[in-house]
């Protein structure tokens, strides 16, 4: 596997050239925040950021995506027959994705790509995407990736990883996909042992900066109904506005709605991100709603991430520790605190 050092200018030049063969997504400063955008002419990537406000999950799983199309024109012999929409699965690359967000794709993959059903759009978008990570030299105060199976330089789910060494990037190829991408980027020089050692030291010192403990070790052994009926849910949910910011920003939230949209005689079947914070999410046609109350919806979000997912897949929680829900919750509901309550219940 490749271990190379690029000057930052050289790397940026390489990314510009990469646009010939890949649809490249990079972090761009957008007002007060960073957002992953297509690296089009006139866009300047900015890799000096802690994390983007939204994870790049929409590259693989767009917020709104056309699934099918159809005509309602009765003069057409194919009227009312739903057809798959053509899709572009040409190679894409997300450059600068944080390791937590790459880990999140692995968490979500279990849902979209399982032994019984494969979601064709998610799977094909994912398979056509190469993830080039950027390790976190300075994790945020809300970060807890190390507590949920990740780390600021965690390689799981990444195809290549960048170490920001100050004046240079050290790039490690991690998978065949990553190697193929790095093969498209000319220049750079092989990293020597000292450079690799420096990179390892950087990663180790970054990990130590995350000091908060979020225990998850006892979640699996808990009885579901004992957690479900625990006394703390009303209190946790008390301040919640059900605004859905947490689910919208979460890189591991995958729930979606499917809706038909018609314009004239042409129509589309579209899927949109949805949120368990909305009462409509579970409202039956009859008017019955199994999660009619706010606290039930808040409980669902935490139980799903920290208990149901744990039980179903037996491989950790449905959280990559990115801390976005903690940072952006308008009423300061903190998943790390909830996790502690659940783990210790």
């Amino acid at each position: 596997m490749t271990d190379k050092i690029f000057s930052k200018e050289e790397w940026l030049g390489g990314l510009e050239a990469l646009r010939e063969t890949y649809g490249v997504f990079v972090p761009v400063k957008d007002g007060d925040f960073h957002t992953f955008m297509p690296f089009d002419e006139g866009k300047t990537p900015d890799f000096h950021y802690q994390n983007s406000r939204l994870s790049p999950k929409s590259v693989v799983y767009p917020q709104s995506e056309r699934l099918f199309e159809y005509t309602l024109d009765k003069a057409d012999s194919e009227a009312d027959i739903v057809k798959e929409s053509p899709k572009d699965y040409s190679p894409k690359a997300v450059v600068g994705i944080r390791p937590c967000d790459a880990h999140a794709f692995q968490i979500v993959k279990r849902n979209f790509d399982n032994p019984e059903y494969r979601d064709p759009w998610w799977v094909q978008h994912f398979e056509s995407t190469t993830l080039v990570g950027l390790g976190c030299n300075e994790p945020c105060s809300t970060c807890f990736c190390t507590e949920v199976g990740g780390g600021p330089f965690n390689q799981e789910g990444l195809d290549a990883l960048l170490f920001d060494m100050g004046e240079t990037y050290l790039v490690k190829g991690l998978t065949d996909k990553g190697e193929a991408l790095l093969g498209e980027i000319t220049g750079g020089s092989p990293a020597d042992d000292q450079a690799l050692k420096n990179a390892e030291d950087l990663a180790a010192s970054a990990s130590k900066k995350i000091s908060l403990s979020v225990p998850t070790d006892r979640l699996k052994e808990k009885v579901t109904n004992e957690l479900f009926n625990a006394p703390f849910w009303e209190e946790i949910a008390f301040a919640c506005l059900n605004c859905g910011t947490c689910t919208f920003l979460c890189p591991t939230c995958w729930c979606f709605d499917i809706q038909d949209e018609v314009s004239g005689k042409e129509g589309d079947r579209i899927r949109n991100w949805d949120s368990c914070m909305s009462p409509l999410f579970t409202l039956h046609g009859s008017g019955h709603n199994p999660r009619d109350n706010k606290f039930q919806r808040v409980r669902q979000r935490f139980m799903h991430k920290l208990k149901y997912y744990v039980d179903k897949y037996d491989d950790g929680v449905q959280c990559s520790g990115c801390g976005r829900c903690v940072r952006y919750c308008p009423v300061n509901i903190d998943i790390r605190e909830v996790c502690k309550l659940m783990n210790n219940h």
Partner: protein, 280 residues
């Protein structure tokens, strides 16, 4: 790549208005591509998404039996956007079916046992599928006594009235049809709520398995009756409803605990439900 969200195109072959309030209609569909019928191989208890271009999809239990060939039927209550539109569609119109989805009644376990079917209102659809399946000459010998308690608010609200009358005539199935009330002087069957009639007519739980499908209130009051009769929770089988979209356990909305009603259900033994959060 195979697309589990893509509906099979079908033509509405026949529409039957089932109930006096005209809110329940049975739709018989024929596959536009005959090979799709084979791919749609189902087992009684399963459901499918009925798909109408421009409106959306709804999950509905399959009312026909796999022993009936050449078509598939669904009985639909007029409730929301899709069902209301469907009720206004005509024979010959084209739409879609996606499935079969979900699990089914525990047919392997039911073999060699007495089967008690308890149904109420318009939830009788997959129970009709099951009855047709069991009384088929190829299958009848696999089961011992078959007893059916089926109730509706009034005689005019019963589904499949012609078939109910035929089953009443048969000696290989014990029918107990009931209505909550009626002013029809010629009504010759029972009057009373389903749990009451169940308690009256079912005398033993020996070597029996009960399948219960109905509105929540009926399920709530039938459950203790069956337990009192001696049915252990492992042998009380329920079929649940939930708001659904994908139908394949991916979109995330129909969960009860870590189980998705669309994929892991809709059929659950009461014993399993007791271990799950009571959020349905």
């Amino acid at each position: 790549m195979e697309n589990p969200y893509l509906p099979y195109p079908v033509r509405i072959d026949k529409i039957i208005t089932e109930t006096e309030d005209r809110n329940l209609k049975t739709f018989r569909f024929v596959f536009l591509n005959p090979e799709d019928e084979e791919k749609f191989a189902y087992t009684p208890g399963q459901f499918a998404e009925l798909s109408i271009a421009g409106k959306g999809e709804i999950p509905i239990g399959i009312a026909s039996s796999p022993t009936e060939k050449g078509f598939v039927t669904f009985t639909v209550n007029k409730t929301g956007l899709v069902t209301t539109y469907l009720h206004n569609m005509n024979e010959g119109d084209v739409m879609g079916i996606r499935g079969p989805l979900g699990n089914w009644y525990p047919w392997d376990e039911m073999e060699g046992k007495n089967v008690v079917i308890v149904g109420g209102g318009f939830a009788f659809t997959t129970l009709r599928s099951s009855i047709i399946y069991m009384i088929d000459p190829a299958n009848r010998s696999k089961f011992k006594d078959i007893t059916v308690v089926y109730g509706a608010r009034t005689p005019g609200m019963l589904l499949y009235k012609d078939e109910l009358a035929q089953w009443e005539q048969r000696d290989d199935i014990n029918m107990h049809i009931t209505v909550d009330g009626t002013d029809d002087p010629d009504w010759k069957y029972n009057i009373g709520f389903v749990p009451t009639i169940t308690e009256e007519k079912i005398t033993s739980a020996d070597n029996s398995i009960a399948i219960v499908c109905g509105p929540p209130i009926m399920i709530k009051f039938t459950q203790p009756v069956l337990e009192k009769l001696g049915f252990p929770p492992e042998r009380i089988i329920l079929s649940l409803e939930m708001r659904m979209k994908c139908g394949i356990g991916i979109c995330g909305r129909c969960n009860i605990g870590d189980q998705y009603v669309c994929k892991d259900g809709p059929v659950f033994p009461l014993a399993q439900l007791k271990e799950m959060p009571s959020e349905y």
